[in-house]
């Protein structure tokens, strides 16, 4: 199925100024909380003060006595989810695992879970009314430790969760919703063939995506049953699907408009506020705005899973990997979203190895339900695999990149799950990294260097696009994917490439669910590939129509007309030598520009527009490598990242600056996860650090400029060679940082984050010989 991949480009690969840039830097851009409409009231959520409790009763009477309180709601206002499955953003989901996250039903399973809501004429009044809602609870024992939760005698969160993936099927419920194991070859034989076996266990904590913009929405309903939603989301169509499912309202009544989005990283591929605001709006007859506080975001949205990974790798003395075994225990919070799948399937996908066993279990605890965060499920086990790979290279006295080059997968190699690789760029990434000046730069005493690689599968899925041509020949592209990482510019560049017109003459827009065909979420590293694919298809359709119109004007057959340089050209026409002239009079009589054809659109068949939709089956994986230099203050335990370089196979980089931005952003998030970020729960099961003062994400002053190298091994399945970009950058930073820090400090910490107190204790232990 390989296709002819275009390699020469005029517009693709350039770096035009982003079309949404001025609005964002001047404050004109409208985010989730920026919309205000006539008659709007404000919703406020009542949240659970307990980590685990039965809801015995909810009494709104005192709240309703407050003048200005116009509506209340609880789970009684939502249909029972039953066993219904619905299509989620990317995979099918059980309604009962996320309807209670919107509004708890009968039980609360984590501190901060939504229990009820009120709407009133001001935010302050709504908050006051929420305080007056009387909820009677029967407190139950909570369980926060995933090892304890995994035990057979642990208190149960759900009495209807039976472990999937176990034979025979269990007859008693447990806190383990999923168990999965994959294997290939003979793992015992692989270890028997090894000259060196290293086994370690690494822990990665629960952490938040840290998007700057909290969740927010405005919902307006009318007497005809129409429901308009404006919200900050990674997918307007996903909001439509999920809100319809949670509320039981027909999907055809919804129109969802995605606002500008201040970060998502997977955390905005589901709904929290929207169904609540819909019910409050229907009950009050007024538009309802709801905005989460930062506290709400931390306590009640979906962080990334914590995980403990035991990894055991065997190698020959000449550095060939003979066996890789991983065992992952992943803390999913109160409901599963199955983040473990990718972690089990792909944690060692960078390496050619005949004998692989990968085992994983998800565990439910009384914490917020975890949700997607860039390459969900991969960063946690990759820390373990990559840190052990670095340790093995060190013990074999091999260069860590040479070790990886010796074992790296290439085209034709087969993953442990049986899928063969097409053309991939891992070896090129490794070679570029080795050749980078950073890799051979001298380190001073007390400094350490770490490298790590990672893989992500990437996704395609469904997208649509519409292209309209105005009377003056200017072009408008409509897509339904919220622009998180620069997709508007990328769409414009790909359309410019097909149409042969300057990218500045194209206006890309992200529109609502009534104004364009279905689009899956902006996530999974799919938008440039899949929605871009729809744009390319639409532009190609438009070009065919333009050739047809020109042929009609010239009384020619369409096959006698080319489209080149942004204009129709009669193959046998006069004046071809002048076709690049700007002055139409000197271009000859057998060229017609887009503007010429647009001006005659009415006379040649009507307005010029093209629509395309497709289900992209042409995704291809990405590989990334990070190099990190770190220095540790031995008196305080503070880590300074001295130098940082990211190398990634992006396939063709449509807009290289955005690709670099994705690489840098992923690196920063991974550095934060490695060094400081973690959810800290107290004995009552309450999150102790639900704000950016106590939950420390890196800021610009913490970091050096992060260097980037884009490797462009084209995806052989995409007309422009595009791969996904946004997921894989989160996976290599943690092991690169952990290795660098441990080398700098002379420690071997395996329990993240490597925060100053922990590091200081390890340094002191190492110095006193008690480590």
């Amino acid at each position: 199925m390989n296709m002819n991949v275009k390699t020469e480009f005029k517009y693709v690969g350039t770096r035009p100024i982003r079309p949404d840039g001025p609005d964002k830097v001047t404050g004109r851009a409208r985010y989730g909380a920026d919309l205000n409409v006539q008659g709007m009231i404000y919703g406020h959520i009542v949240r659970s003060p307990h980590a685990h409790a039965k809801i015995k009763s909810i009494d709104f009477s005192a709240a309703c006595k407050l003048p200005g309180v116009l509506a209340t709601m609880s789970a009684d206002d939502l249909p029972e989810p039953g066993d219904r499955k619905i299509p989620g953003g990317e995979v099918e989901m059980a309604l009962k695992t996320f309807s209670p996250v919107v509004m708890a039903r009968k039980k609360v399973l984590y501190h901060g879970q939504a229990v009820a809501a009120v709407a009133a004429t001001s935010p302050e009044l709504a908050a006051e009314a929420a305080r007056l809602v009387k909820v009677e609870y029967e407190v139950l024992p909570h369980i926060m430790d995933m090892h304890a939760a995994a035990r057979a005698d642990a208190p149960l969160l759900h009495d209807d969760v039976y472990t999937q993936g176990v034979d025979p099927a269990p007859t008693t419920p447990s806190n383990i919703p999923t168990q999965i194991e994959i294997s290939t070859g003979d793992i015992s034989k692989g270890f028997a063939e090894a000259d060196l076996v290293v086994e370690r266990t690494y822990f990665v904590p629960m952490c938040h995506q840290g998007y700057i913009e909290p969740h927010a929405c405005v919902v307006q309903t009318d007497e005809n049953g129409k429901v308009d939603i404006w919200c900050s989301t990674q997918g307007a169509f996903m909001v439509r699907t999920l809100t319809a499912a949670v509320t039981g309202i027909d999907i055809g009544r919804f129109k969802v408009t995605a606002s500008e989005i201040g970060g998502g990283f997977g955390g905005k591929t589901t709904v929290y506020l929207e169904p609540v605001a819909v019910v409050l709006s229907l009950k009050s007859g007024r538009p309802v705005k709801m905005v989460m506080s930062r506290d709400d975001v931390f306590r009640a949205t979906g962080p990334a899973a914590a995980a403990e990974t035991r990894v055991k790798i065997g190698v020959t003395r000449d550095g060939r990997i003979t066996a890789i075994e991983t065992d992952i225990l992943m803390d999913c919070g109160a409901y599963t979203s199955h983040p473990i799948m990718a972690g089990v399937l792909f944690n060692s996908a960078c390496y050619r190895c005949e004998n692989v066993r990968s085992f994983g279990r998800e565990v439910l605890t009384n914490k917020p339900r975890v949700y997607a965060y860039r390459a969900p499920g991969i960063p946690q086990p990759v820390v373990a695999v990559e840190c052990v790979v670095n340790e093995i290279a060190e013990r074999l006295n091999m260069d860590p990149i040479d070790f990886r080059l010796l074992n790296a997968v290439d085209e034709g190699d087969v993953m442990a799950i049986g899928i063969p690789f097409q053309a991939i760029g891992l070896k090129q990434v490794l070679q570029e990294a080795k050749a980078h000046p950073h890799y051979t730069a001298e380190l001073k005493a007390g400094q350490g260097r770490g490298v790590a690689v990672a893989f992500w599968i990437n996704a395609g899925m469904q997208s649509s696009a519409t292209i309209n041509v105005s009377e003056d020949g200017s072009v408008n592209i409509l897509t339904g994917n919220p622009d998180i990482g620069g997709s508007r510019a990328s769409m414009a560049l790909m359309a410019a490439e097909v149409l042969g017109i300057p990218v500045e003459t194209i206006r890309p827009s992200v529109v609502d669910t009534d104004s364009v065909g279905f689009c899956d979420v902006t996530g999974g590293s799919r938008t440039t590939l899949a929605t871009g694919g729809a744009v390319i298809k639409a532009a190609e359709t438009l070009v065919k129509e333009l050739r047809k119109r020109a042929a009609a004007i010239w009384s020619l057959d369409i096959e006698e007309v080319d489209w080149t340089g942004g204009m129709a050209v009669a193959k046998s026409g006069t004046g071809l030598e002048n076709m690049n002239r700007e002055d139409a009079a000197t271009r000859g009589d057998k060229t017609l520009t887009l503007a010429d054809l647009a001006a005659r659109a009415g006379a040649t068949g009507g307005p010029l527009c093209a629509v395309a939709s497709h289900n992209a089956h042409n995704a291809a994986p990405s590989f990334a490598l990070n190099i990190c230099d770190a220095q540790v203050d031995r008196e305080t335990g503070k880590v300074d990242i001295l130098r940082y370089t990211c190398v990634q196979d992006a396939g063709k980089a449509i807009h290289p600056a955005y690709v670099e931005g994705q690489m840098q952003g992923g690196a920063v998030q991974g550095i934060g996860w490695a060094l400081n970020e973690e959810y800290i729960f107290n004995e009552q099961g309450r999150l102790d650090n639900p704000g950016f003062l106590d939950y420390r994400i890196p800021v610009a002053s913490d970091l050096p400029m992060i260097d980037t190298v884009i490797v462009e091994v084209p995806n052989p399945l995409h007309p422009y060679g595009v791969r996904g970009v946004g997921e894989v950058p989160i996976a290599p930073p943690m092991p690169a940082v952990v290795t660098a820090v441990n080398r700098a400090a002379g420690t071997r910490l395996c329990h993240l984050p490597l925060s100053p107190p922990k590091l200081l204790a390890a340094i002191e232990a190492a110095e006193s010989g008690t480590a």
Binding site: M1, V91, I180, T269, M341, A342, G418, Q422, A459, G523
Partner: protein, 81 residues
């Protein structure tokens, strides 16, 4: 005969058999063949999976066809972020 590798989840219904060959040339016929050979399996279990055909992962393979020499791999659907 196309070669089929079954996912870990599907292997629970095949007595641990990981790899089979099938005479089917269409996805729908493949599902029918699987259900006939492994009565414990059902359509819902198959439908939870994406299908990789000769290395290309297809999330919704309902209308897909493949050749006699094709390599097919059932794989759990993966969500991104």
């Amino acid at each position: 005969m196309a070669r089929v590798i079954l996912s870990a989840d599907m292997q629970r219904y095949t007595d641990g058999i990981r790899e089979i060959t099938v005479s089917a040339g269409k996805y729908r016929d493949l599902v029918t063949e699987l259900l006939q050979r492994f009565p414990g399996m059902n359509e819902a279990i198959v439908a939870k999976h994406a299908l990789a055909i000769d290395g290309i992962i297809i999330q919704t393979p309902l209308l897909e066809t493949f050749g006699e020499d094709s390599e097919l791999v059932f794989v759990a659907r993966i969500a991104g972020g």
